[in-house]
């Protein structure tokens, strides 16, 4: 409460810029295999999403913090099943 400016937000912002640049660099300027690139950039996307959720959206704050976090993780669980499940049935092995 005594700070003059939200420096933790500045730190989070800089971190998200760095992560975005890393994604572009890995995607466009490295010679890793396609699947390895995909694992890396999806990993970075999750790191950045959690950065937003925890640092900017304060997901865990308040007496309902645990419930909010559980709800979002359940949403992510559903999303991962929907996306990987669709790819598994429609695309894998083709």
């Amino acid at each position: 409460m005594h700070e003059k400016f939200p420096w933790s937000h500045v730190f989070g912002f800089l971190l998200s810029i760095v992560l975005t640049c890393m994604t572009i660099w890995i995607g466009l300027y490295t010679n890793f295999s396609h699947s390895f690139i995909l694992y890396l950039i999806v990993g970075l996307a999750f790191v950045q999403a959690f950065l937003q959720l925890f640092m900017f959206m304060h997901m865990t704050e308040g007496e309902d913090g645990k419930m909010k976090t559980a709800n979002i993780f359940y949403g992510i669980f559903v999303a991962v099943i929907v996306v990987l499940g669709s790819l598994f049935t429609m695309s894998f092995g083709m």
Binding site: I24, V42, G75, V82, V83, S86
Partner: protein, 200 residues
Amino acid sequence: MEQTNKELPLEYQTHQDRMTILAFWIFLGAEIALFSTLFATYLVLEHRTAGMFSAKQLFEAPKVMMMTFLLLTSSFTCGVAIWYMRRNNAKQLIGWMLVTLLLGAGFLYMEIAEFTHYVHEGATIQTSAFLSSFFVLTGTHGAHVTLGICWALSILYQVMKNGITTTTARKVFIIGLYWHFLDVVWIFLFTLVYVKGMVG
């Protein structure tokens, strides 16, 4: 009269406002599920280009980077706005929110220009399964940004009229959550649609 807890930030002081904020988080969980279905459709269909435009031919890295930086910066300025709201500074809150919305409008302008460019090239929503799912996924996100701008403006008007109260603080806090969430969705669009598309 409802009990208020003065120890907490304004938006959390009444029980009803705490419940409204919790309900909004549950809505965001449903939004994750909504976007996941569109992502699944896109990822299944991304190589079905009908022999026409592929992701690699269409996407341009500098423009995508620009859009990403606009939205990332707007998420940051939105966080700063909320930070000032919690210090009861209405002037800074409105100022930083307006910067946020300007950046959002800049993002929207670039996205519309991108879509118009594709359509002029002949890459429309009817061209291929890849483009249908691409326009639906990115368009749904763009529609969310558009709604967010209109919604935020109507709430800023209420802040100017009534100042920072428990009610307006809760409304600003919720539009803030919505705005950060749109940035989270964009991170995945950027990664799984644009960067993945440019890799090939």
